[in-house]
């Protein structure tokens, strides 16, 4: 181990962990903000459920009995009842068998998000319910995955509200719903589209957002750590101690990684709580294996994703440490890393919404060249089972990191770490203005 590394690392962790800016920004804020957001959004969903929402329902009547007609009339009359429904109802008689293809065709035709199927035996079961309350009538509810928007969950909750209203009007618990989701053209029974949509949201949004926040926080921590040593005049003393200069560099990088990891855990805890609050209405007993449904990475894919995140984090930290080594103080260091931020958030936000393969070649090459794009590229690639894109990405980012680390270690080995100074035009102007005043 590098001489003095452990001692230095322990000091770094103590100093970072006791800094209220870090404690507040990286741990307290995510733990408070996300649950608060979750509570607000959960309330919004609940209110939407209570009020009813504007929705287009396609009713496929495969029963044809009296109760099925009564149910359709009930649906059509809901808007006029003044209980907050604003439904547009389209009725299709006898669509059997209702295949995945047919569901998609109907949804697309009427630009709707859900289909309610009244299966054969519906009327018979309702009639039987009055003599034997154990017998219940079933409605089938179909949704299709067409996006991962959080607010699609609200739409699919309409059917629950409709059933509640019907049960209230006819008899308690006479109706229950069975939910199904069309995934890749196949109907998956027992899979609530809201649940899948919620889980997909966490896959496609949580990862880039988490990466973005963790990278930015880690860069901030690393950048200020060297600059703070300079600003607080502790750096000169440090460089004359019998400690390996690389131990200082590694100590700073390691402590930043540890603090960033703790921060990201806090972030994930807060974020999960938020998702939990939003999808609180979804039955807990429904276990979904997204990997089996072809909507999540395999174990090897997750491993590659983790590796990609780690090397990207390391490359960002190394860049930040170099940047801060050139800064005279914390303010200059923060200004300098401000130039790194667009390289972090533009590719990640772009890749959240766009598929890299659909972009023009030049833009694609630019995104591949930016190391911080890779976690988002890898996250999509591993879901598609494209492990080679992930592996090439990891190799590229690792090579980039090695080059940056080499530059950082060279910098730490010379007097430039003490004498290197970069001032920025904006700062210079401010300083001049301050002096003039």
């Amino acid at each position: 181990m590098l001489r003095g590394f452990r001692n230095f690392l322990v000091k770094e962790l103590k100093v970072l962990a006791r800094d209220p800016k870090i404690l507040l920004g990286m741990i307290i804020v995510p733990l408070v903000i996300f649950p608060a957001m979750g509570a607000i959004m959960g309330y919004a969903v609940q209110t939407a459920q209570e009020r009813g929402v504007k929705a287009t329902l396609i009713v496929v009547n495969n029963d044809g009995g009296n109760w099925s007609r009564s149910f359709i009339d009930f649906l059509k009359g809901l808007n006029a009842m003044g209980v907050g429904f604003n439904l547009t109802v389209h009725v299709k008689e006898n669509v059997e068998p209702l295949t995945g293809e047919k569901v998609l065709e109907l949804l697309s035709k009427y630009n709707a998000a859900q289909i309610v199927e009244i299966p054969e035996g519906f009327s018979e079961n309702i009639t039987a319910h009055f003599s034997n309350p154990q017998i219940k009538a079933r409605l089938r509810f179909y949704g299709a995955l067409r996006g991962a928007s959080v607010f699609e969950n609200v739409d699919s909750s309409v059917v629950d509200a409709v059933i509640n209203q019907f049960n209230r009007a006819v008899a308690p618990d006479v109706l229950f719903s069975e939910k199904a989701t069309v995934i890749k053209g196949e109907i998956k029974y027992g899979v609530d589209p809201s649940t899948v949509s919620g889980l997909l949201t966490s896959q496609s949004i949580a990862l880039p957002v988490t990466t973005l926040i963790v990278l930015m926080l880690a860069v901030q921590v690393a950048a200020t750590s060297v600059a703070m040593e300079k600003e607080e005049k502790t750096f000169e003393t440090l460089l004359t101690l019998p400690i390996d200069r690389l131990a200082i560099l590694w100590g700073k990088l390691s402590s930043s990684i540890i603090i960033a990891a703790v921060g990201s855990l806090a972030f994930m805890a807060g974020y999960n709580y938020m998702l939990g609050s939003i999808t609180a209405g979804i039955p807990k007993d429904l276990k979904l294996d997204l990997a089996a449904l072809g909507l999540a990475p395999s174990t090897f894919g997750y491993l590659l994703l983790g590796l990609s995140l780690f090397v990207t984090l390391l490359s960002a930290l190394a860049l930040a440490v170099i940047a801060s080594a050139f800064a005279e103080d914390v303010r200059s260091a923060q200004s300098f890393v401000g130039y790194i931020y667009p390289l972090v958030f533009i590719p990640l936000l772009t890749l959240m919404y766009l598929d890299i393969n659909a972009l023009p070649l030049a833009l694609r090459l630019v995104l591949y060249a930016i190391p911080f794009s890779h976690p988002a590229i890898v996250s999509k690639a591993v879901i598609m089972g494209d492990h080679w894109t992930a592996i090439y990405g990891i190799i590229y980012v690792s090579a980039f990191t090695v080059v940056v680390m080499y530059a950082a270690s060279r910098l730490f080995a010379t007097e430039k770490i003490l004498t290197a100074k970069l001032k920025f035009k904006g700062l210079k102007r401010k300083e001049k203005a301050a002096k003039a005043s």
Partner: protein, 243 residues
């Protein structure tokens, strides 16, 4: 026996500025040697080169026979440097700071503890060592830093303005400690100071530097006699004017 410090024709150029312009002087083991000179004379640059922080553009510097460029790591094992504007980690307590610094030089935990106890005595901070250093006054921080520099009992202590920011009582206390350390532990001290009274009282020999060059050298008594002055302040003013 090797000289404690041997500075030979050292030149240091920053951009187009010659901060040191052929500086040469030697410090004997067990001596308290003072560098004095006006602001910008090159005192701090000289101390930084001897401390392995900066590289000389030309010339050589040896500390106890070790070249500060080629054997920088070995030099760092036998020196202790106190910069003029040194700071402490604000989120560590004084005690933690001393322990952190001690661990780099000590061979085991007992040695660290002994060093910290020694530093506690030197600094005179007592119970306040348990508090975070962000609550310390400037003087308290300086006492902590001086204690840190001396607690490791270096072969060469390089102290840039050791009593900067201290009041009269604490300055006196620090000077006494430095003197005691030289006597008891055979520590060699190279210091710079603007306080002529301090230099006159504490230093065995003094070098006057101006514009990166040595302009006068000798014991305070020799210098006073040579320039016909009653104190070192007058010597300083005269030499700088002549230069």
């Amino acid at each position: 026996m090797a000289l404690a410090v041997e500075v030979s024709n050292v030149v240091k150029v920053f951009g187009g500025v010659r901060a040191l312009d052929g500086l040469s002087f030697t410090v004997k083991p067990g001596e308290i040697y003072g560098l004095i000179g006006p602001n910008g004379a090159g005192k701090t640059t000289a101390l930084r080169i001897i401390s392995t922080l900066l590289l000389p553009t030309e010339g050589t510097v040896e500390v106890f026979g070790l070249n500060v460029v080629e054997e920088a790591e070995k030099v760092r094992e036998i020196i202790s440097y106190l910069p003029e504007e040194a700071g402490v980690y604000r989120y560590l307590s004084g005690w933690e700071y001393l322990e952190f610094m001690g661990r780099f030089s000590a061979k085991n935990l007992d040695e660290v503890r002994a060093m910290v106890r020694e530093a506690a005595e030197i600094s005179g901070l007592g119970e306040r060592l348990k508090d975070k250093t962000k609550t310390y006054s400037k003087g308290m921080k300086r006492r902590l830093l001086v204690a840190r520099a001396l607690m490791v009992k270096p072969k060469l202590a390089i102290l840039d303005e050791p009593t900067s920011g201290l009041d009269v009582i604490h300055s006196y206390h620090v000077r006494e400690i430095i003197r005691r350390y030289v006597k008891e532990h055979g520590v060699t001290v190279l210091l710079s100071s603007h306080n002529m009274l301090e230099v006159e009282h504490i230093c065995d020999r003094v070098a006057l530097i101006n514009k990166g060059r040595l302009v006068a050298e000798g014991s305070p008594q020799e210098l006073k006699e040579k320039y016909g002055c009653t104190n070192l302040e007058e010597v300083f003013a005269r030499v700088v004017k002549l230069a």
